[in-house]
Symmetry: C2
Amino acid sequence: MAGGGAAASALSSPWRALLQRALDANAHLKHSTFFQLATVGGGGRPANRTVVFRGFQEHCDKIQINTDARSNKVGEIKEWPLGEICWYFTDSWEQFRISGIIDVIDGSSPDPAKLQQREKAWFASSVKSRSQYLGPCPGLPVANDDHVKDVHLDPSAGPVDAYCLLTLDPEKVDYVNLKSNQRLMFTRTKEGDESSDWMAEKVSP
Amino acid sequence: MAGGGAAASALSSPWRALLQRALDANAHLKHSTFFQLATVGGGGRPANRTVVFRGFQEHCDKIQINTDARSNKVGEIKEWPLGEICWYFTDSWEQFRISGIIDVIDGSSPDPAKLQQREKAWFASSVKSRSQYLGPCPGLPVANDDHVKDVHLDPSAGPVDAYCLLTLDPEKVDYVNLKSNQRLMFTRTKEGDESSDWMAEKVSP
Ligand SMILES: Cc1cc2nc3c(=O)[nH]c(=O)nc-3n(C[C@H](O)[C@H](O)[C@H](O)COP(=O)(O)O)c2cc1C
Ligand SMILES: Cc1cc2nc3c(=O)[nH]c(=O)nc-3n(C[C@H](O)[C@H](O)[C@H](O)COP(=O)(O)O)c2cc1C
């Protein structure tokens, strides 16, 4: 997974070594890179869905997620940018709850560096994944006789309008290991991703 | 799983037959009865954690979850009782997002019927599960030299103070099948759990 390899560096956030170990231990399972992202929608309604881990942004701890700019979550996150990831590793019995602020990076971003990240993440995903963003608007009714149109995407074409990159910047990580029955709470004390910017505490599961 | 068997009855909510089929198809996986429950905590912060499905409450669609009355979620849910479950079945590639209102049933409930449900759910879980509620308060720091005390629980003893039953009453179910690439949105139109109290619509994934 992109950015994963650098995770265990001595200087990086302390929970990343644990997460990298879990990713390695569960790598034989297709679903080990899926997690549930909770956000808050209109009227304070919690929303929760499975998404795919698309690696860390380079040189930091931000977690990348690909999504459709037309899906409900994008408008909801723009209104209220807090999220909590719940990532359970089914083979090693470890859970990571990662909370932080989510940045929505669609084609309208005024920041060239962000547009570049978005383009990079676009090309990092398969052509098949990219083609999904040419499909019908998620969540809208489909008529019974609708059949999926074959869409052709030029593999060298840049991100389409519907493609949106989300990045979650971790502020707290609640780690539980059900085999050892241990729980560690990591809290970011300073802006930054170095070991010294985080506090860790052993708490009761 | 308690209450599961009756799920596919012709009169029950239409999504329950799909859920029962998924439970059956994934029953060989220990984690098939685990799902992620999202709620909203203080300051509108989303919270998300893995919990165990403890079956449906008898004669209705309410989803039962056991928890510790001392855990953060209980206070949070009392303040803001909305929840969304995200339940992904890793073998059949099906996702159920189930949202609704959560009822917190601890020992202080004034309703004798609810206290009875709580007692029933207590005895339905293993003695080992029940013993966990005698352990230290979840989330509090543990000293490094703390070792887990052996607790003895009388198997015939009723629910302890820390035991709390949560029930989520579904109002909307968003079902996605990644194998067939189909998505169905079920919305409850009336109070009740019969087929006719729900509307189903095919929507784009
Ligand atoms: C295994 C699996 C992986 C998924 N991965 C993603 C993903 O990476 N990005 C995404 O936007 N939706 C993904 N989805 C779909 C979401 O769970 C959800 O149905 C969709 O994003 C609409 O969510 P929303 O209405 O909250 O915006 C995935 C679904 C499943 C079952
Ligand atoms: C596989 C697994 C199953 C779990 N099942 C439950 C459960 O059924 N009930 C529960 O309260 N916590 C359960 N937990 C622990 C929760 O995920 C969470 O750590 C704990 O309930 C504290 O959450 P809170 O601080 O939001 O209250 C489980 C954890 C894992 C990894």
